[in-house]
C-alpha cells in the first residue's frame, strides 16, 4: 500500500512540473491555432537565464522567476509580432509550424554557442532536501515545484477569467472576426498571448533547472511533453494543462513502477493515441470553443 501511495504522490509531484511546462503551449494553440515547436527551447532559455543569474550573482533561482517571466514575455511578444505573424500572413498556419521549428533549431544552437553543450544544473542549498510524512518520502524541490505550478496556473486562470486582458484574449480566441469588429487589435492580442505563453514556459524552465540537469538537446522532450499534456487535458485552459500534466505524471510513475522503468514513454504515446481516437479535444475540451 505504501508503495502505491508513494508512486501516486511521486506522479502528482512530477505532473505539476509537466503542467506548468505545457500551459503556454496550450494557450498558444487554443488562441492562435499555432503549433509552437519552439516551446521546449523557450522553456530551456528560462532555465539558462536562471542558471546565469544564480552563477553570476548568487541569486536564488526561485527569486529569478519574475525576471525570467518578464524577459521572456518581451521575447515572446516580439517573436510573435515580428516572425510568426509574418509567416502566417504570407503563407498559412502550417508555415508557423515550420518557422517555429526553424527558430527552435537556431535557438538551440545559440544556447550551445553561449553556454557550451555541457549539461548544467542549478543546485541551491535546498536542492537536495527531502521530508517524510509517515512512510512517504518527498523531494522538497519537487514539492515546491508543484506548489509553484499551482500558484502560477491559478494566477493565469484568474487573469484569463477575471481580467479585461483575459476577456479580450478569450474573445479573440473564440471569434477572431467579431473581436476585431469590436475594436480589438487582434495582432496585439496574439502578441500578448505569445508573451504570456513564453513567460510561463520560462518559469517552468527555472523550476525544471532546479529539479533536473539540462542541456540544449532536451528542448525536444519538453515540446513533446507539452503536446501530450495538451492532448490529454484539453486546449487553452490552465485547468486542462494541470489535469493533463497530473495524469501524465501519474501514468509515468505507475508505469515505471508496475510495468517497468523502460515503458513510461511507450505508455504515454499509447494514451495519446487512445485520446485522439476517443476524445480528441482532451478531457476538458477546448476552453475557447464558446460560440464556435
Amino acid at each position: 500500500m505504501n508503495l502505491v501511495l508513494q508512486t501516486l504522490s511521486d506522479g502528482l509531484v512530477l505532473g505539476g512540473i509537466y503542467a506548468l511546462s505545457a500551459v503556454g503551449f496550450s494557450l498558444i494553440f487554443g488562441v492562435m491555432h499555432v503549433v509552437n515547436l519552439s516551446h521546449g527551447v523557450i522553456v530551456l532559455i528560462g532555465a539558462y537565464i536562471s542558471y546565469a543569474l544564480w552563477q553570476a550573482l548568487g541569486v536564488d533561482p526561485l527569486l529569478t522567476i519574475p525576471l525570467v517571466m518578464l524577459a521572456l514575455f518581451g521575447f515572446g511578444y516580439a517573436y510573435q509580432r515580428v516572425i510568426i505573424e509574418l509567416a502566417v500572413d504570407r503563407s498559412s498556419l502550417l508555415a508557423s509550424m515550420l518557422v517555429t521549428f526553424g527558430v527552435a533549431l537556431m535557438l538551440r544552437n545559440a544556447l550551445v554557442w553561449i553556454f557550451s553543450p555541457d549539461f548544467k544544473s542549478i543546485t541551491p542549498s535546498y536542492a537536495f532536501t527531502f521530508f517524510q510524512i509517515g512512510e512517504l518520502t518527498f523531494d522538497l524541490v519537487r514539492v515546491a515545484a508543484l506548489g509553484a505550478s499551482l500558484v502560477l496556473l491559478g494566477i493565469l486562470a484568474f487573469v484569463l477569467q477575471r481580467s479585461r486582458l483575459g476577456r479580450i484574449i478569450r474573445a479573440t480566441a473564440q471569434q477572431d472576426l467579431a473581436a476585431r469588429l469590436c475594436g480589438v487589435d487582434a495582432r496585439h492580442v496574439y502578441g500578448l498571448t505569445f508573451g504570456v505563453s513564453a513567460a510561463f514556459a520560462g518559469a517552468a524552465g527555472t523550476i525544471i533547472g532546479i529539479v533536473l540537469p539540462f542541456a540544449p538537446p532536451d528542448e525536444g522532450l519538453w515540446t513533446l511533453n507539452a503536446f501530450v499534456v495538451v492532448t490529454l487535458g484539453g486546449v487553452g485552459s490552465p485547468a486542462g494543462a494541470l489535469l493533463g500534466g497530473l495524469v501524465l505524471g501519474v501514468i509515468s510513475t505507475l508505469t515505471s513502477q508496475y510495468i517497468g522503468p523502460a515503458f513510461p514513454n511507450a505508455t504515454m504515446f499509447l494514451i495519446l493515441v487512445l485520446m485522439l481516437l476517443v476524445r480528441p479535444s482532451g478531457l476538458l475540451g477546448n476552453a475557447f470553443s464558446g460560440s464556435r
Binding site: 508513494q6 553543450p117 544544473s121 536542492a127 537536495f128 540537469p213 522532450l221 522503468p261 513510461p264
Partner: protein, 416 residues
C-alpha cells in the same frame, strides 16, 4: 650630380621593398611544399546529447595533432616528414549525419579515421570505414556490436562493453564488509545494454546476487519509482550503467529522496568536473570507472609522459582534462606509431601495423585484441572515487592514490 626627385626616391624605395619581399614568400612556399600532409578525418559530437564528452575527445585529437605539427615539426614516416591534417566535423550526436560526413571524407580521399563519441554513432561509421578499407581508431564506442562483426579495420581504446566491468567486480569483492546484493540501473542504448550484461555476468561470477535490473528509457527525466524500489529492497551496491547526464539525475534524485546504498558506482558521470560541481560535497564517496589519471607514471615516445601531455593540454585549453581527452590523444599517437612501424601511409599496411600494436603511451599500454577492442587486462579501467571534489584511484592496489572513504556510505546529509 643630378638631383633625385621626391617621386623617384619614393619609387626606388618602393621597388627595393618589393624586391626584398619577393624571395621570402617563395622560400615559405617552398618550405610548406616540403611537408606533405596526412589527412586524418572523422566526425565528433560538438553539439547534441553527446557533446559534453565529444568536446573532450575532440580536444584530445587537436592537442596531439597540434603538438606533433608545431612542437615536433611534423612526424617522420619512412624517411619523409609529414604534417597531420585533422579534419573533424560536428555530427551533432546524430548517427545519420555522422555516416554522411564519413562517406564524404572517404569520397574526398581521406584514408584514416578517428571515432566519434557514443556507440550508437561509432557503430555505423565503423561499418562504412570497413567497407571502404579505411582504418578507424576510436575512443568513443565500447558496445560489443562494434567488435563482434568481424571488422578488421576498427580499433578501440576500450575493451568491449561486456568485458569492461571485471575490475569493478573485483573491487566489490575486495570491500569489507563484503556486499551480498547488487542492483543495476541501465539505460536503453547500444553501449549500456551490453555493458550491463557484462556487469551481471561478472557480478554473478564473483558470487554476488543480482537483486534487480532497472532498465530506463534512453532519455530519462524521472527515476522516482526506481528510488522507491531501492529504498524498499536495500541493495548493498547500486551499479549505474548510464551516461553522464542520466548518472547525475540518478544521483540527484537519490540525494533528494534520501535513498542511500552502502556503495554507489556509476560507470560514467563522476569523471566530469561539471558532475562533481553540481553535486558538491554529496559527490564524495561515489565510485566511477577511470581509464587514465595524469598522475600515473606513463611514458610516451612523443610527449614524454602523461604529466607533460596534461601540461601541454592546459596551455591550449581551459576545459578540465578528462580521460577521454587522453584516450583521444593516444589514438593519434597510435596511428603515427603504426605508420612509422609500417613505413607506409597506405591504409592496408597501417591497418596491419595497428593490429600488431603493443606500445606504451601517455594513456597507458595500447594493445588490441584480434577483434580490435582494447585488451581487457592491459586497457581495462581502474576504480576511482570522488574525494574532496577530485577523483582518487582506489582499486586495484597497484594503482591506488588514496584509500577508499565512505564505505559503507553514510546518509547523504552526513557527508562533508
Amino acid at each position: 650630380m643630378a638631383r633625385i626627385g621626391r617621386r623617384s626616391f619614393i619609387k626606388s624605395v618602393g621597388i627595393g621593398v618589393a624586391a626584398s619581399s619577393l624571395p621570402a614568400p617563395m622560400v615559405r612556399r617552398a618550405r610548406a611544399q616540403a611537408l606533405k600532409k596526412i589527412p586524418i578525418g572523422g566526425s565528433i559530437p560538438l553539439s547534441g546529447r553527446a557533446a559534453e564528452t565529444g568536446l573532450n575527445v575532440n580536444n584530445g585529437y587537436v592537442t596531439a595533432v597540434k603538438y606533433l605539427n608545431e612542437v615536433l615539426g611534423g612526424v617522420e614516416i619512412a624517411g619523409e616528414r609529414y604534417q597531420l591534417d585533422l579534419r573533424m566535423f560536428d555530427d551533432a550526436s546524430d548517427p545519420a549525419r555522422a555516416t554522411t560526413l564519413i562517406q564524404r571524407l572517404i569520397d574526398d580521399g581521406c584514408d584514416f579515421f578517428l571515432g566519434s563519441f557514443g556507440s550508437n554513432i561509432v557503430l555505423p561509421t565503423v561499418a562504412i570505414c570497413e567497407r571502404a578499407g579505411k582504418p578507424m581508431v576510436q575512443t568513443g564506442g565500447g558496445s560489443d556490436q562494434i567488435f563482434n562483426q568481424g571488422y578488421k579495420y576498427s580499433f578501440g581504446m576500450f575493451p568491449r562493453a561486456s568485458l569492461q566491468f571485471l575490475s569493478t567486480a573485483l573491487f566489490y569483492k575486495s570491500l569489507n564488509p563484503l556486499p551480498k546484493t547488487v542492483s543495476v540501473v541501465v539505460t536503453n542504448d547500444a553501449f549500456s545494454k551490453t555493458a550491463a550484461q557484462g556487469v551481471v555476468h561478472d557480478c554473478k561470477a564473483q558470487g554476488f546476487e543480482i537483486l534487480d535490473q532497472y532498465q530506463l528509457p534512453e532519455q530519462v527525466t524521472d527515476v522516482s519509482s526506481v528510488m522507491a524500489s531501492i529504498r524498499a529492497k536495500k541493495p548493498d551496491v547500486l551499479t549505474c550503467v548510464t551516461h553522464d547526464q542520466d548518472s547525475l539525475l540518478i544521483a540527484r534524485q537519490m540525494i533528494a529522496s534520501g535513498t542511500t546504498v552502502p556503495m554507489l558506482f556509476q560507470g560514467l558521470g563522476p569523471q566530469l568536473a561539471s558532475y562533481r560541481e553540481a553535486l558538491g560535497k554529496y559527490a564524495n564517496g561515489i565510485t566511477v570507472h577511470i581509464y587514465w589519471d595524469e598522475r600515473a607514471p606513463l611514458k610516451d615516445k612523443f610527449f614524454g609522459d602523461a604529466q607533460k601531455f596534461a601540461a601541454y593540454y592546459r596551455q591550449n585549453f581551459t576545459r578540465p582534462i578528462a580521460y577521454h581527452t587522453a584516450g583521444a590523444a593516444a589514438c593519434i599517437i597510435t596511428y603515427v606509431t603504426a605508420m612509422q612501424s609500417a613505413k607506409s601511409i597506405k591504409p592496408a599496411a597501417v591497418r596491419d601495423a595497428l593490429a600488431a600494436t603493443d606500445i606504451e603511451t601517455l594513456y597507458g599500454r595500447v594493445k588490441f585484441t584480434p577483434d580490435g577492442d582494447g585488451d581487457p587486462e592491459l586497457m581495462g579501467g581502474v576504480v576511482g572515487q570522488v574525494q574532496n571534489g577530485d577523483i582518487a584511484l582506489v582499486f586495484p592496489d597497484n594503482t591506488k592514490t588514496a584509500p577508499l572513504i565512505y564505505y559503507p556510505a553514510p546518509p547523504w546529509s552526513q557527508k562533508t
